[in-house]
């Protein structure tokens, strides 16, 4: 009988797990279809899901539309329209230009950040508990007395129906044939007369529709807030990665299996110390899956072909633009010394954030390694400082704040190997996924634990209790950080790093120890981020896990890339602007600005710093041109004949340029 009860419980838990599982499967279908039709791994899917969920809630709860009408509008009109818009404005131009996966990824992050910023701007960050559900949660009794909720059943049906529909369309229709042709070889398909742009547009519309569906279906189970839902959906990328971004059946099965496994894990209740860990694995099984999938296998699935590094603005900074930026940065940093009260308190965030952004400059800008996990290292710095001050680390007495900050930084820096090691053999999108997964795992398994959220003190030392004194100390540390960064960008080491970023194989052939240099970049980056994070904590006198949310890390990454990934001064300016914009106007504005710029990055290589450099160079005398290629006498004659013919035609008005 006991076996029977156990079996019955297993079935019940499996049925409960189908809710999350089918949402994950749905998200996987969207990612796989979008990727097959467009070649893009849609990192913005989570934000699209969240935006659609917010729109539905607005229409139903605030505008009092009937639920069915609102849902039809959101899913069949608004979401696909968003997809088509993104395709036309952002991704098609990138595709035309032959942009590499790194640039496309930054554009995706831009969309992500822009949508989050827009939602924060419109609806604020306060979690909402009244997201409408499309299907009532009426329990249905199955044979054997098991209960299945109606909404779960419908969700499951939608997943299976969509998967079958996509499969049938791909296999049996003309559109499916065109889709397969584009998947196999886009160029060849275009030559054969297939309109690849229409295939891409359809892919984006469908991907956006499924993203919206995921958001609308998941929202009633959660508190709706701008960060939580997108992150949850991003974690389900695990499903698509396991499916190698190709196989729908694998995506569906993996999604459902992970959902069920997550539910079944609730039966494990080991005693004592292990319980919190097991519980967090259970709640965050998708994070574990993403980490595993990204570490084992993503290298072969994603991120092949095209330039992998984030495009930098070029190293030799035009002196005039550089000086202007440095002067502006200095003024912006010194200004708060004259502030009072709340303004000064808000300004405390600027040097700390600048240090975190500098860590992205070192890893991504100088070293060319995509790292979406820097928020994790900042969090480790902050949490480490708090734990050391509170004397919570066994065997170590409570340390004074300054010593605690120092130790936290020194301990976090070598942890940079957590993302540095995977970076040795990965690049581009694969590395992006790994670093994001590591950052998310840190957030979920380290920061959001009871020991980190309860009763930690993070007090400043007496001589830095005043905000002005603390700000001055922050400026000194930022100065030290800038000196370190300068050391990394100049001389022998700087040349080697730039060589590695520009052409990894070429650098190795020239004798540059590429693996060691990557580890060095990640270690230095982790140390800088930890220092910034520790200062953030001391500034606010508390460890705040949400400040180091992985989504926050994506915003920071996009910010640095927008400003110009290899510009240290740019990072300082960006920190001032991020804090200033949100404090001075409405929260969310900074994300909207950063997101919009990131989406447009394809049209301004090198970010804002690159634009500034080119603007200054434009006014300067042009460098002496290299002597033109020497032509043989026959070549010279050919060129003359060609020129004659072209100018003749131009007179006739046939060739116009």
């Amino acid at each position: 009988m006991a076996d029977g009860a156990s079996l019955s419980l297993t079935v019940d838990l499996a049925l409960a797990g189908l809710t999350v599982g089918s949402a994950a499967a749905l998200s996987g279908i969207g990612l796989v279809v979008t990727h097959r039709a467009t070649g893009v791994l849609n990192l913005a899917q989570g934000a699209q899901a969240m935006a659609t969920a917010y729109l539905l809630r607005e229409l139903v709860v605030v505008q009092h539309w009937p639920t069915a009408l609102a849902a039809a509008f959101c899913l069949l009109v608004a979401a696909p329209a968003l997809g088509l818009l993104l395709d036309a404005l952002v991704f098609r131009p990138l595709q035309r230009r032959g942009a590499g996966p790194a640039e496309t990824m930054v554009a995706c992050l831009g969309v992500f950040v822009l949508l989050i910023g827009t939602v924060v701007l419109l609806w604020g960050t306060a979690p909402l508990a009244d997201a409408p559900s499309l299907v009532p949660a009426t329990p249905i009794t199955l044979p054997g007395g098991h209960l299945l909720r109606l909404d779960t059943a419908v969700q499951l049906g939608v997943v299976l129906g969509l998967a079958l529909l996509v499969g049938a369309v791909t296999r049996f229709t003309g559109f499916g044939a065109r889709l397969r042709a584009v998947v196999d070889n886009r160029r060849l398909a275009e030559l054969a007369g297939v309109d690849a742009d229409r295939v891409s547009a359809a892919g984006w519309a469908f991907g956006s529709f499924t993203a919206g569906l995921v958001g609308v279906l998941l929202a009633p189970f959660l508190l709706l807030d701008p960060y939580g839902l997108p992150l949850l959906v991003m974690e389900t990328m695990a499903v698509a990665v396991v499916a190698r971004l190709r196989s729908l059946p694998v995506a569906v099965v993996t999604g459902l299996a992970l959902g069920i496994a997550q539910s079944e894990l609730t039966r494990l209740r080991p005693g004592g110390q292990l319980l919190p860990l097991v519980q967090s694995v259970q709640v965050n099984l998708f994070v574990v899956a993403l980490l595993v999938a990204a570490l084992w296998g993503a290298g072969r699935t994603v991120g092949d072909g095209g330039p992998q590094a984030v495009p930098g603005g070029g190293r030799p900074a035009a002196s005039l633009a550089g000086q202007a930026a440095r002067a502006a940065g200095t003024v912006l940093l010194l200004l708060p010394l004259g502030f009072q009260g709340d303004d000064l308190r808000r300004a405390l965030l600027v040097p700390a954030l600048a240090l975190v952004l500098l860590s992205v400059v070192v890893v991504t800008g100088y070293g060319g390694q995509i790292s979406l996990g820097q928020a994790g290292y900042a969090g480790l710095g902050s949490l480490g400082t708090a734990l050391l001050i509170s004397g919570r680390i066994p065997g170590i007495p409570a340390l004074p704040p300054v010593a605690a900050l120092l130790v936290a930084v020194l301990v976090t820096a070598p942890l940079g190997l957590l993302t540095g090691w995977p970076a040795i053999r990965r690049s581009g999108l694969a590395l992006a996924l790994v670093t994001f997964a590591v950052g998310t795992a840190m957030s979920r398994f380290v920061f959001e634990q009871p020991y980190a959220t309860n009763g930690l003190t993070l007090d400043r030392p007496a001589f830095l209790a005043g905000d002005r004194a603390f700000y001055t100390a922050e400026l000194l540390l930022l100065g030290a950080g800038l000196l370190l960064v300068r050391k990394l960008h100049g001389g022998r080491l700087g040349r080697a790093l730039t060589a590695m970023r520009d052409h990894q194989a070429g650098a190795a052939a020239a004798g540059v120890d590429v693996p060691r240099l990557k580890l060095l970049a990640f270690t230095a980056g982790a140390g800088l981020a930890a220092l910034g994070g520790g200062l953030m904590g001391l500034a606010g006198r508390a460890f705040d896990a949400s400040a180091f949310d992985p989504v926050q890390g994506l915003v920071w990454f996009a910010t640095v890339v927008v400003v110009g990934a290899d510009s240290a001064v740019g990072a300082v300016l960006a920190a001032a602007l991020l804090v200033g914009l949100d404090a001075g106007t409405a929260p969310g504005i900074s994300a909207v600005v950063v997101g919009a710029l990131a989406m447009a990055l394809g049209r301004m290589p090198g970010g804002l710093a690159g634009v500034a450099r080119r603007a200054v160079r434009w006014g300067e005398p042009r460098p002496v041109p290299v002597p033109a290629e020497r032509l043989s006498p026959a070549g010279v004659r050919t060129r003359e004949r060609l020129a004659e013919r072209l100018s003749g035609r131009r007179r006739d008005g046939v060739v116009r340029r």
């Binding site: 930098g312 070029g314 190293r315 030799p316 022998r492 040349r495 080697a496 730039t498 060589a499 970023r501 520009d502 052409h503 194989a505 070429g506 650098a507 190795a508 052939a509 020239a510 004798g511 540059v512 120890d513 590429v514 693996p515 460098p623 290299v626 290629e629 020497r630 032509l631 043989s632 070549g635």
Partner: protein, 255 residues
């Protein structure tokens, strides 16, 4: 000239190298010697295994069997940058330069990573500077030394790649189709530079499609087909060998 290629001559020896992809041996038991002071050429149709062999020599790929020796030292398992520091330099078929560095900085990266240790401190700094200047002068790049590498014409970039390789004071130089993208005058200049380097004691191994250039330059030629060496010896004899002609003919039929 002196000082660019040092006096420590070394030969590159390949013994029974095999490299498989799945069940297919792309390189199937190749023996080859590139002696110092000589230009050795590797020819063969597409798919003959030249590039795979080249990768095994430069360290991009590891052979499944066999050994690669640099001046008697077994380098089969060493990573690329260590080989480079031991004096094995290479250029790429698809030009590999660092576009955001200036021409001089590009060359300097090669100089600074040369030879183990000893290049720190002011002596090393000066020596690296000197090597950089010499390599720039040798390849006629002094005029563009302060220009960023991005946007320079192909011929100049080929010379830049060569200059970076030479700045590392190599003993053996691997060249992967160095004449691709060069016009007639540039090819003449390249040939002159390569001959001068060989005369200076460097061991040169080049993979090259241009049989005219090979006939003109190479002291010894290895002809590969289907992963094996089908003929080797003096250039004139190998290029006239009917077996070699046959492999090229077959390749032409293939497409």
């Amino acid at each position: 000239m002196n000082g660019v290629a040092p006096g420590r001559a070394a030969r590159l020896t390949v013994r029974g190298v095999v490299r498989r992809f799945g069940g297919i041996a792309a390189v199937d038991g190749v023996d080859l010697v590139a002696p110092p002071g000589r230009i050795t050429a590797l020819i063969g149709p597409n798919g003959a295994g030249k590039s795979t062999l080249f990768d095994c020599l430069s360290g991009t790929a590891r052979p499944d069997e066999g050994r690669v020796l640099l001046g008697g030292r077994d380098i089969t398992r060493l990573p690329e940058h260590v080989r480079a520091r031991l004096g094995l330099a290479r250029t790429f078929q698809r030009i590999a330069v660092f576009p955001t560095l200036t021409v001089a900085e590009n060359v300097r990266v090669g100089a600074e990573r040369a030879g183990g240790g000893g290049s720190r401190g002011s002596f090393g700094y000066e020596r690296d500077g000197l090597r950089t200047e010499r390599a720039l002068a040798l390849l006629g790049l002094t005029a563009v030394a302060e220009r960023p590498a991005a946007g320079l014409p192909t011929g100049t970039l080929r010379m830049l790649e060569l200059a970076r390789a030479l700045a590392g004071a190599p003993r053996v130089l691997l060249l992967d189709e160095p004449s691709v993208g060069l016009d007639a005058a540039e090819t003449v200049r390249l040939a002159a530079v390569l001959r001068a380097l060989a005369a200076d004691g460097l061991a040169l191994l080049l993979v090259e499609h241009d049989t005219e250039l090979v006939a003109e330059l190479a002291d010894a030629v290895y002809a590969m087909a289907a992963g094996r060496v089908v003929a080797c010896g003096p250039a004139a004899r190998v290029l006239a060998d009917p077996r070699v002609g046959l492999t090229w003919g077959v390749a032409a039929d293939d497409g």
